[in-house]
Structure formats: structure tokens, C-alpha cells
Amino acid sequence: MPHPMPSFGSFSLLLALVLGAYTFLSGTFALWAISTGRQLAISAEHLRESSRRAGLMSFVAVSCAAFALIWAAFTNDYSVDYILHHTNRALAPAYKFSALWSGQEGSLLLWAWLLAAYGFVLRLRHKVDITLSAYASTILSAIQVFFLLILVFAAPPFAGVPGGVVPADGFGLNPLLQYPEMVIHPPMLYLGYVGFSVPFAFALGALMMRYPGEKWIHITRRWTMVTWLFLTCGICLGMHWAYAVLGWGGYWAWDPVENASFLPWLTGTAFLHSVMMQEKRGMMKGWNVWLIFTTFLLTILGTDLTRSGLVSSVHAFAQSSIGSWFTTFMVIVFVVCLFTFLYQRDHLKAENRLESLVSRESSFLFNNLILLAACFTVLWGTLFPVLSEFVQGSKVTMGPPFFNRVAVPVGLALVFLTGIGPLLSWRSTSLRAIRRNFILPCIAILATAIVLMACGVRPWKDDDSTSSIYALVCFALGAGVITAIFSEFLRGAGVVRTQTGKNLATSIFLLVRRNTRRYGGYFIHFGVIVMFIGLAGSAFNQSKEVEMGFGDSVQLNGYKIVCQSYSQDSNANYDTDFALLDVFHGAKKITQLTPEKRFYTASQQSSTIVAIHSTLAHDLYVVFMGRNPETDRPIIKIILNPLVNWIWIGVGIIIFGTFIALVPPLKPGARRVEATENSPLEAPNPKLEAHPAFAAVDGSSHA
């Protein structure tokens, strides 16, 4: 008897498509009637509400479809072709659950589900601004309809096995995907990708309805930040996974699919910065709208690149015909955005002009320039093979050397601006302020460079001098930026300390509470710099590859690795070949590592599990390369990767900073009372607050 769940899933998807189409059409008619004042057979407000409710129900329908697919995975329903190809009976439950995003069709269903979930929250919170939410809801439903059309007609996840003969067991999950991050990395990345649909929908909706003021930015600020955080976490989890699983080229290999996730991150970051200019100074309105349009288009391009087979990648799904769907969709979205922009561009005139070349505004402009230059460079490098094939008839490879040569200098410029930008004031910065703010960071840069050179970092003596120069510059600039950030914290805390009489730690806490956005941003900058320092460490990697018998040892940079034993084992899912290695530092045994090589029986593929001993200074990265067929002894590769832990620590700081930036700041009234109670002499001067400069510099009044 056939399982009922696949039929239920297919029906749910069809129902979601109908509901999505109704949400879009009824929403469009209602908004058209409201904006033009036309009378419809039913009231426009009722139609709008009906659209909203249909949108809410579409989430329920897509959830049912997702549930049906997960159910099919857990019940080993191999009558579903997708389940047959991505699971098997011996697969661990966590990986059965992740079957939802293990393949093409399932991951598209995840896209649609997350989009429906975001839409569900948006529609529940519609009272924040009913009309603008209705526009955003209608635009989101249009995107939803596109994905549901693909799921129903081009890539159905519940399609039966060809021929109708159901095998007893599935083909299993690709071994490279059987790693804990499989459960968390794709959903995080998709939450980031899909999440940018919300600010996109709000931006397009606000432009369509000529929404007055910057309220749409306030509404979407948290959406955008949370989305950005998800994307950041998704990318970094992917980096960690690629680092820990061999065959993916380390934490970052400039692979087209890695690049595809990086592109919307770059434009999204640019948007998060430049949107502040619109909030505080009413500038760059058109630019911001295009930044969010571009970010959304890049998320679609990334999804397209992963699936169309346009570029070759180890991370890509199987080549399929759905690329043309995405290309058509991108063209439609671009045309709609362009038309709306041209039609409503007079609504986007700036309210203020730049007053000084040395100001926060111009630093934001250059920050955007660098981020977009990085985005263009990565996009160019990713798509150049396609262009080359078109022009020359032959594909070329744009490997890591190209990106390291072209993108790394741009990244260093970004590090430089990360330090400069926050030290400049809005509107204009006086020469005295520049001198005061920049002197310490400059000293830190010089001192770091001198100390590093004295310690032996001398690029002119290295074989790979380019990497060493980049690393030296990165360390020196990083030290400067960290000094700038710390001095900002200390200076601010000093003021709070004078006002409140609290100790330094409490003053810093109060300072951060007063302007969470600003100091959260500083934490994020600090995290980015820590990450960059970790990345720069790769210039000093060392490695050794040796055959090791019982009791054999090898030395690398103060470590002694001794082979205790090597053996084999097996379970229902895979056979494993491993070595037990004792690691000594000096005479002291510090750990035991077990690098292994697995052979998965269902998929008949092998995978390597690296053993890593992490410290703050470096990672000891040990790989079981296989056995020498003549001696049957294991071949072990030992790599010393400096500063890798700094990358993951940097990510943690970025996450922490983003959470701080998301916390609402202490209300101005509350902190003034607190300051007045503790130190009446330091109470704010009303005349001072009436000065226009106050409004421009008091971030809290806008945050």
C-alpha cells in the first residue's frame, strides 16, 4: 500500500501555491484600489485583510509539506525518489532530519518554508504599519509563488521513484555531508538568504507607495540585522565545516558557491552602514534602495549558481534545468525594481548635502565603495570563466591565487576604513579631533609592525613574500583598529565615570547600554579584525607528511607526535580506518588525536575526519591520508595552522556585538535622571542640547 504522506505533501504544496497566488492577486487589487481610490465589489480593506489571512495560511500549508518530507525520511519511504537518493536506513536521525536540505528539491522546499515563516511573522506584526506591511506581504507572496511554482512543476520533492519499483534501502547521504554542521549550517545560511527578502519587500513597497520619512528603515532595521547575523553565522559555520572535513579546500577556497554566499553578505553589510546616513542625515536614499535590491538579487543569483551548473563547484547541487527559472525570475525582479525606481525617483531626493570631506558621511561612502568593490571583484572572479568561454571558447580557472591577489588588498583597505570611520564625526571633524583620535592607533600600527619585524616577520626574506606582506599589513592595521576601538570605549567610559561616579567596568556597561547600536557596532568591528588576524595567520602554515608505524614519531614546531597504534572498525553506516597518535609538547603529553578515514557502505564513498588540537596560537591539524599499500602503515599528514582559533573567536565576538546592537538602548530620559542624581554639576546643558550639532551627534535620539 503506498504511503499517504507523499500525496499529503504534494497536496500541501499545491494548496500553498493557490494560497500564495491568492495572497498576491488579492493584495495587488486591494492596494491598487486603496492607492487610486477605486471602488471594488468588496471593500479594499476587507480584500487586504483576506490577502493577509491567506498569506498566514500559506505558511501552514508549506509547513505541512516540509513535515511530510521529514516524515518520509524518518519512515524510510523510498517510494519518494528524493528520499531514496539522500537517505538510507542506517543514517543517523539528525541526518535524516537534515534530508530536508540535503538535495535540490528539499532545499528549495526549505527556501519556500523559511520565506513563508518570515511572511507569517510579518503578517502577524502587520499593525506596526498596516499599509506598508500589506505592500511587503504582497511582494513576499510574489516571491513565494515563484518558489512554489518551481516546487510544483520543475523540482517536485515528492516525485515517485522511476518505474515504481521501491528499493529496500536508500543510496545514503554523501559522506562529506555527514558532519554535525550539516544540521545547522544550511538552515542558518538559508535564514540569511531568505531573510533579505523582507527588507527587500519593505524597500520596494515603501518606494511603490512613496512612503514618507524613514520609518520603513526603522521597521526593517532589526529584520536586516538578524538576517545579516544568520548569514554571517551560516557562512562561518560553512567555513568551520570545510576546515574540519577534507576535500573542501580549507575554511575558504574561493569556490563559486562560497563566493555566492559572500556576495549578498558584502552588499548587506554595505546597506547596514549606508542606511545610517539615511536615518541620520536623509542622504543616499536611492543608493540604499538599490543596495537592498542588489542584495536580494544576489541571494537569487547565489541560489541559481548552486543549482544551474553555470559554474563548477564541489558544493553545488546536481546540474538541473531550473537555472532558467531563476534567470527569468532575476530579470523580472530587476525590471520591476528599475521601473519602480525610475517612476518614483523624485521621492528619493536627499534632504542634506555633504558638509565636509572629513566626516563620517564620506567615510561611509568609501566604506560602501570598498565593500562594493569587493563584491564586484568576487562576482567578476566567479563569473569570468563563463565570460571567457563565451569570448575565447575555453573556460579558465579563477582559483585562490587570483582572489588572494585581487581581493585581499581590497580586504585590507576595508580593515583600514574599519579603524578610521568610527573616529570621524558626523557632518565634520575638526583637525584637533583627528589628531587626538588618530595618534594612538597610528602609534599602535607602527609599534606592531616594528615588533613583528623584530620577531622575524620579514616578507622580503620569505619565498611567498606577497602573503607575508599582506599578513604584516593586516596585523599592523588590526592593532591600530583595536587600539582605536579600545580608546573609544575608555574615553566614553571616562565620561560616564565622571557623570555617575561608578567604577570602570560599570561605566563601560552603562556606556554600552546608552548606545547599544554604536557600541554593538564596535564589538562587531573588533570581531571582524580578530577574524582578519586569524585569516592572516595562514601565511605561516607549516606541514609534514610521513608514514608512521607503531612507536614512530615526528617533530613539527615543538610538537612531537608518536603513533601509539592504528586499527580498523566498522558500524552499520561506515567502516573506519584510524590511527591513535599521542601529542607531546616538550616532554609533556598534551593530548591524543584520532584521525580517521571512513568508507560509507551505502554510497560507496569515502570521507576523512581530521583530528585537530586547537590552541590560541595554532591548530595542530592531523590527517589520516591512507595506508601505504606496500607496508600497510598509515600515512599521516600534520599541518600547523597558526591563529585559526582567532577566526572562530572573531565570529563569536561578531555574534555578541550584533546581539548588543539589537538591544534597545537605555532611554535618554532615564540616563539623564541617573546622571543628574549622581552628579548634578555634570547635568546636561539645555542650551547645548538645543544646538543643531547636538541633534546631529546624539546617536541615541535616532537609534
Binding site: G249, S356, L357, T377, W380, M398, P422, R518, S606
Partner: protein, 158 residues
Amino acid sequence: MPRRLLQIALVCLLAVTMLGAGTPSTSFDKIGHKLMCQCGCGQILLECNHVGCPVSGPMIDELHTQIATGLPEAGVLNWFIGKYGPIVLAEPIRGGFDNVAWIVPFAALVLATLGVALLIRMWHRRYARMQPAATAPPSDTTTNAMRDRIRRDIDFDS
């Protein structure tokens, strides 16, 4: 003076010549990092970490063989291009249209920088024109003093 210049030129020439004369192992390392493994992993030949990769081993053997024949770097690379196609190179270095790959990102960055600089200048000038003489902003000294006071008092300029 001309003699000193000649000496400097000779030293430079010698240094350049010495730099070019690589040992076989450095040539191997250098060329190996300019080639991609062709197993589909998308990694540099000498950094391919696929356990049991069926392609990188034979390719590395071919590299050893070609270097041993005494071919210069360009010759070795051409041999690999002939066998595997231009896709074997880790970066586009054949000249011609390949140069476009290198020029465009830098050209775009330079043009964009100039564009932003012009934009800032235009905005700045327009702002200056918009300021009527009668309501000119306070002098720099007054404004700076005010800003410093604000910074001291509240330290919020984000």
C-alpha cells in the same frame, strides 16, 4: 657617479638573475602552485587534500617529469595546458583576453573611487553654495569648541 650607477645596475641584474635561478624543488613548488588538481575538487595541485585522489598523484608525477626535462616554467605550463586545457592553470595568465580578468577589478575600483571623490566634491560645493552669507555657520573655533564640549559631555557621535 656613472660608475656607481653601473655598479648598482650590475648588482640589480645579478639579484634578478639569482632570483630567477630556482632549484628543482623551488620550481616544483612554484609551478605546482600555479596548477589546479583536475579531479574536480577545485584545489591547487600541491594542496589537493583529497584522500586517495586519483588525479593529483599522477599530475604531480608529470610535473616532476617535465621539470626534469629542463623545460622552463612557461614550457611546463604549456605542456599542462596542452594536455588538460587552460582550465589547468590556477589563474588566467596566458595574456590576451586573460588580462581582462586582472585589469577589470582594479579599473572598476579606480573608476569608482574617482566617482565617489567627484561626488563628494560636488556635494561639498553644492552645500557651500547653499549657505547664505548672512547665516554663515559659526566659525570653526566656535563649532569645534561646541563639538568638543558635546563629546566630553555625552560622547555620542554615532
